[in-house]
């Protein structure tokens, strides 16, 4: 039985990873049309690093993600600590409000942001992208940090207070250090949400000033080249590495 189970799991993993691995291998194949036999070449990577447009979009994507992750983590941590610490009327409503940004399809949110941002005169462009990404990332940060704080022993809080610590000191010396793995994981999730975000960026980014996923989408629709393979391989490597790090902090699916 366990053999069948392992074989099945193996097949699922092949389904999940084979296309990604194929893409990675093909990015190192000299043939433009993915011809076999495989002929090793780094040509596409060289071309990629000479492509100004791709480099600019990559750089833009990275710094947008850095700004988004930092802002979302700061605001999200503040909110989740308040939600964790205090009981007040309407708390459940506030928690329920975190779901629309996750559950409503990005197509709807993206187009809604587009019309609204035009309506208030902000229009398209990087500020609009950042504004949108932070909102999408906030719920993930709040949920991650709140999950971490669930295991906090409230007696620690009381002990610190009874020893005369003020609430700011308790927050800084007791609560924040305890929350920090959740905060770090939340930051990484927020970074990933922004860095991998295509749909919302697609509607909010200025043409010619786009983020990396938007650039890739446009390039694929024009007819793809192995250069796209190369940049796609790099992206997937970066985001998977980030998530492995995040998972270490968030301890997903750990042994219970």
């Amino acid at each position: 039985m366990i053999v069948v189970a392992r074989a099945y799991l193996g097949l699922i993993l092949v389904f999940l990873y084979a296309p990604i691995i194929v893409m990675g291998v093909m990015s190192l194949n000299a043939s433009e049309f993915y011809a076999l036999p495989f002929d090793f070449s780094t040509e596409w990577y060289e071309r990629l690093f000479a492509n100004e447009e791709v480099l600019a979009a990559s750089w833009r994507s990275v710094w947008i993600a850095l700004v988004v992750a930092t802002v979302a983590t700061t605001l999200g941590t503040m909110a989740s600590l308040a939600l964790w610490r205090h009981d007040f009327p309407g708390k459940r409503i506030l928690q329920a409000l975190l779901f629309p940004p996750i559950a409503v399809p990005w197509l709807i949110i993206g187009t809604a942001m587009l019309v609204f941002f035009f309506g208030i005169g902000l229009g398209r462009g990087t500020p609009a992208v950042v504004l949108g990404h932070v909102a999408l990332a906030l719920p993930y940060v709040i949920i991650t940090v709140t999950a971490r704080m669930q295991s906090f022993d409230r007696a620690l809080d009381e002990a610190a207070r009874s020893l005369g610590a003020r609430s700011w000191t308790v927050a800084r010396k007791v609560i924040l250090p305890y929350a920090s793995p959740g905060i770090i994981a939340g930051w990484l999730f927020a970074f990933a949400v922004s860095f991998d975000q295509f749909v919302v960026s697609y509607f909010l980014a200025e043409p010619g000033d786009s983020t990396l996923p938007v650039l890739i989408y446009t390039a694929i629709r024009k007819g793809f080249t192995p250069e796209i393979n190369a940049i796609a391989t790099i992206i997937i490597a970066v985001s998977m590495t980030l998530m492995i790090v995040a998972a270490r902090f968030a301890r997903f699916g750990g042994t219970r």
Binding site: I20, I108, V134, D196, M240
Partner: protein
């Protein structure tokens, strides 16, 4: 809660929720407003209120056909995700232990946190005619077959199942893990066989997780446009691509807003119907 505490809580909560209001809740309301206009109200353009966008959508069967197509696509993708995901979640939750479970779980969840667009693109390389799948199958089989799945309905379904399968595995895993082992042992000692245990015991207990997973797959798939576009080509016109076109190609924003708003209504109905199960799965 004292007054000081209330002020502090408010100060901590306000920035995040103001941000969500400006970037999510106001835009969603603005879209409802936009969908009732004749023209986008920017610059010097004349505009007035109308329900023409809605009569257009409900009067022309093309829109209903595409919405139905997207709903069917959502159904099939959800179906395959559940069928493939449930055994996988069962194995992870009930048959593996310790380190190997941790590693395999991470491996299953990992693709879900990587770039969706890039993963769809990778399927384009695999599926196209004379592509990797075609060659691999022909290398194994003694006779010639021509596999060109690219730009077809199955290609869209494969790509979407690949994108959303980890969701179902994650939610089902969580609910399966919570099942008390002694319940299953009790059923077995009372003489129940595995099919009966699965049907009468495991499935009902895992249902909240399965429903949560199904909703998390169905909702975004109904609103998908990038996947059908890239993998479906000519066959890839869906309700989602229709909305995309209104905003980036045809520039009929009020109509696009009406289409988006109708989709939002459909999504909200689904979410509301599933909310008891979602709440159960969350706890």
């Amino acid at each position: 809660m004292t007054r000081a505490e209330r002020i502090r809580a408010l100060g901590l909560l306000a920035p995040a929720y103001l941000w969500l209001t400006v970037a999510v809740f106001l835009p969603l309301s603005a879209m409802a407003f936009f969908s009732l206009l004749t023209e986008v109200p920017f610059g010097e353009r004349e505009w007035s209120f109308t329900i023409a966008n809605y009569t257009e959508v409900f009067g022309n069967p093309v829109y209903a056909t595409l919405l139905w197509k997207s709903l069917k696509l959502g159904f099939w993708v959800t179906f395959w995700c559940l069928v493939l995901g449930f055994p996988c979640a069962w194995i992870l939750a009930r048959m593996l232990k310790g380190r190997s479970r941790e590693v395999l779980f991470l491996l299953v969840i990992l693709p879900f946190w990587s770039n969706a667009l890039v993963r769809i693109f990778s399927w384009a390389i695999v599926l196209r005619g004379n592509g990797v799948l075609d060659r691999a199958v022909n290398a194994v089989l003694p006779w010639d077959v021509n596999i060109n799945l690219m730009f077809s309905e199955p290609a869209i379904i494969i790509g979407l199942v690949h994108s959303y399968l980890p969701y179902v595995i994650l939610t089902t895993y969580l609910s399966l893990q919570a099942i008390d082992e002694t319940l299953i042992e009790a059923a077995r000692s009372l003489g129940a066989r595995w099919p009966r245990i699965l049907w009468r015991l495991v499935l009902p207990l895992a249902l909240p997780g399965l429903i949560a997973g199904a909703v998390l797959v169905f909702v975004p798939v109904v609103g998908s446009f990038m996947e059908p576009r890239l993998l479906g080509g000519r066959f890839g016109t869906t309700y989602g691509t229709l909305i995309e076109d209104q905003f980036v190609a045809v520039f009929n924003w009020p109509l696009g807003a009406a289409l988006s708003f109708i989709l939002l209504a459909v999504v909200l109905v689904i979410l509301a119907a599933a909310s008891p199960a979602l709440r159960k799965a969350a706890t």
